[in-house]
Symmetry: C2
Subunit: 148 residues, 2 copies
DNA sequence: ACCATTTATATCGTTCACGATACAAATATA
DNA sequence: TATATTTGTATCGTGAACGATATAAATGGT
């Protein structure tokens, strides 16, 4: 009956789920020092690339729904990292902009990606193999994440 | 200043985080038909391999903490998938056992791993490349998940 | 200009994750 | 055999995720 389909060891999803959780945990001590969670750090990455974006653009970039990031953005606003203001041309949009505090955080966390990166590198995950890993993950994301 | 470290596209964790979420979403319609969530399905995978395990063994297998799975197990008990009973030799342990209903579920979800599997397969993720992907993810998990 | 539809965001309820903490049973030590 | 420590599980609080639904602004067709 059980030909191995059900073995946890054979499951791709469980590996992704676990690796994702553990990597987020690796970020935790580095980010909590600045009052940030990992999803909040992702929002900052998006805003550091381009400031003053509507909620929807941030959500699309992170492949999340607005019902996930709206409360998250409110918490970040309460912490003073960003501001939320209705758009002037389109009043439906809520434009999210970095505060000086939110901007200045970028300089303070430059060491974070490197620290996490070096924690992950090992025999099979190297600068040489990472491109192939990225290609596979991007393909999975593209195949499952294409809305419509 | 920004040499690319902060580009979302360069982040391994974001890819794992997104791929994990999307793959869990792919499981959702298939599992909700049986009143299961993905983490609950993981618990069943563990119990189908070996019935009647203490909470701690299940938690260790899934690399989760008991404070995560205790409420999850209670919900599954309320749904009739399993029972929880104090161990006879060690009264601290809570032994989790499948009910007939929990056991019978295994036959009903045989199609689930195949459906999700075929949804993921693409150019770069094939039966040939998956072993290398598993090796890399397992190494990441081993490197980050080794307690002490 | 009117009304239906779409779009952008928010609210609500449920289920994880997880750090911190509590507590009782088992074990080790004095 | 007291008592200190460890072990196994549970409780609490907070912050995501996310399906379902609501609401208001913008848009399109008539």
């Amino acid at each position: 009956m059980d030909d191995g389909r059900f073995r946890l060891d054979n499951q791709l999803c469980f590996r992704l789920y676990t690796a994702s959780r553990l990597l987020t945990q690796a970020y935790h001590p580095l980010l909590s020092e600045y009052g940030l969670t990992y999803p909040q750090y992702l929002v900052l990455l998006v805003l550091w690339e381009k400031d003053a974006q509507p909620v929807n653009d941030i959500a699309k970039r992170l492949l999340l729904e607005t019902n996930t990031i709206t409360p998250l953005l409110k918490r970040m606003e309460a912490e003073g990292f960003l501001t939320r203001a209705r758009g002037t041309t389109d009043a439906r949009q809520m434009i999210v902009s970095l505060t000086p505090q939110g901007k200045s955080l970028q300089k303070k966390v430059t060491h974070v990606p490197e620290k996490v990166g070096s924690a992950v590198l090992c025999e099979s995950v190297t600068p040489e193999t990472i491109p192939a890993l990225f290609t596979m993950l991007d393909d999975v994301i593209r195949r499952l994440g294409d809305k419509q």
